[in-house]
């Protein structure tokens, strides 16, 4: 059985069906990259898994959707009881806290003993190369550093599942590439299970172990990277053709 199983999630806003029976499965320690354009329903999917939004209840002849994480049904549980941390495009650092305070914020909220929290924060600061910036505030950091702090804050609480909603979308190309590499390295080191949604094809290919595509609320999952690349709707073939036409390797 998969570590994360999402089955038949549907969400309507008025007459608009934003999510249409979304079903996916992710094994422990894997990252599922979900490719989708703006407004395709990917944020709604993550918010429902996080418990920040609710899926529509089932109707006559239609079962309600469900989310199961590590063998436990999450339906009806509040966000704080799910063990899934949601990271958005904006790092949302607390302006009244320094980097250390931000990284340790979740531990403080969870009431982790001070000594243990300090040790975990120190380790996270070292791992993410943030130790020299520990005393800085958000407005003294670059965009990449802010996103690293947000990443560290999420990892410090040791979530069962990380939900990443275009986390590097606001960064410049170079920093974005750096952050993708950092995510890969840290995700592997910590055995993180993640749902990573992005509209960037290259980013999806770099960070994903498994792949899915969402379009107008409909989620399509792929068994392999090759199957993802072979589907014309993902745009991989177009990308390869473009770079080939320039006489260069595809990125």
């Amino acid at each position: 059985m998969s570590f994360l199983s999402v089955t038949g999630l549907t969400r309507r806003f008025g007459a608009e069906r934003v999510l249409d029976g979304a079903t996916l499965a992710v094994d422990e320690g894997e990252t599922l990259a979900v490719l989708g354009r703006s407004g395709s329903g990917k944020t709604t999917l993550l918010r429902i898994v996080a418990g920040l939004d609710t899926a529509d209840p089932g109707g006559p002849g239609q079962a309600a959707g469900s989310v199961v994480l590590a063998g436990r049904a999450l339906d009806g549980l509040p966000p704080e009881a799910r063990g899934a941390v949601y990271l958005s495009q904006e790092p949302l650092l607390f302006p009244h806290l320094d980097v250390r305070g931000n990284v340790g914020f979740g531990l403080r909220v969870q009431g982790v003993p001070r000594a243990e929290a300090d040790a975990r924060v120190d380790a996270m600061l070292r791992e993410l190369d943030l130790a020299p910036h520990a005393a800085k505030r958000a407005d003294q950091l670059s965009g990449g550093q802010r996103q690293r702090v947000a990443f560290g804050r999420a990892l410090a609480v040791r979530p069962r599942l990380l939900l990443l909603d275009e986390p590097f979308g606001a960064l410049d190309a170079g920093t974005r590439t750096q952050m993708q590499g950092l995510f890969q390295r840290v995700a592997r080191a910590h055995g993180i299970t993640a749902l990573f949604v992005t509209h960037d094809l290259k980013e999806a290919l770099v960070v994903g172990d498994r792949f899915a595509r969402i379009d107008a609320g409909r989620l399509v999952t792929y068994a392999t990277r090759a199957a993802f690349a072979a589907d014309a709707a993902t745009g991989v073939a177009d990308e390869v053709a473009f770079w080939t036409s320039l006489g260069e390797d595809a990125p």
Binding site: E80, S88, E90, R137, D139, V157
Partner: protein, 260 residues
């Protein structure tokens, strides 16, 4: 030929002098025992007037005004913060906001004449509680309008973040949204305080002359042609708002940075 410009320092001094001049005249009037037309300067001094005034009704009116304005400001800010959040999340946001603007569609005196009928029926007219409730109509509406635009999706996202990091709904407000919102709350507190503090017509109509706040007292002194006492009361009237503005400025300074 180039136009001559006023030096910045001189210009600033002129602005400060223009702003301070009315208060300087008030200060002089408050210690004058005689300043008859057309004498260019005080003809007699009466330094004891401040002590006499503050030992009398003025002190109780000042205390009443401070308590009333603080209560109205606190209730308006807290109510506005909570209601503004609900309005910001609501699908019919524009309709609710339109309603919040309604108290400002007519003059406070006109509205208070309308309100007083209901207040009399409820037995609230002429009472301090009744005046506070009437002022809350404006203060609360102002708080809702102020915070409806303040609760941006970004600020709401702070609360969501705290929830997924393991915090309860209360912690999401206390630890997530509040640290970011407190500068704005201080600003709203100061502004609703001022809204209540300078309220004259509404207080007079709803209070029916029985609730003697500081603005009511100032106008009474003016009506009695007691220029000295009116000057003392007027100067006292500007004291707490200046203190509030100063405090507000300090809070804003130490408040928000860029949360990224």
């Amino acid at each position: 030929m180039t136009a001559r410009r006023l030096p910045a320092g001189l210009f600033a001094a002129l602005v400060v002098a223009a702003c301070a001049a009315p208060f300087a005249v008030l200060a002089l009037l408050s210690v004058a025992d005689g300043w008859t037309f057309s004498a260019p300067w005080l003809t007699a001094w009466r330094l004891g007037r401040w002590r006499e005034a503050l030992a009398g009704d003025l002190a109780s009116s000042t205390a009443l005004s401070v308590a009333l304005s603080l209560a109205v400001a606190l209730a308006s800010t807290a109510g506005g913060l909570a209601t503004g959040r609900a309005v910001a999340r609501c699908r019919h946001r524009r309709a609710w906001l339109w309603m919040a603007y309604l108290p400002f569609a007519s003059s406070p005196v006109v509205l208070s004449v309308g309100l007083v009928v209901w207040w009399i029926r409820a037995g609230w007219a002429g009472t301090l509680g009744g005046v506070a409730l009437a002022q809350l109509v404006f203060g609360y509406a102002y708080g809702v309008v102020f915070f409806a635009s303040f609760w941006t999706p970004r600020l709401l996202a702070y609360g969501d973040l705290v929830r997924t990091l393991g915090g309860s709904a209360v912690q999401a407000l206390r630890l997530g949204a509040w640290p970011v919102a407190r500068s704005a709350a201080a600003l709203c507190l100061a502004q609703t305080f001022l809204l209540s503090w300078f309220q004259y017509g509404l207080t007079l109509v709803v209070g029916q002359g029985r609730v003697s706040t500081l603005p009511v007292r100032v106008f009474a002194y003016v009506g009695e042609a007691d220029a000295g006492l009116a000057a003392v009361a007027s100067l006292v009237l500007v004291g707490p708002p200046l203190a509030m503005l100063w405090l507000n400025r300090r809070l804003l300074r130490v408040g928000m940075g860029d949360g990224g």
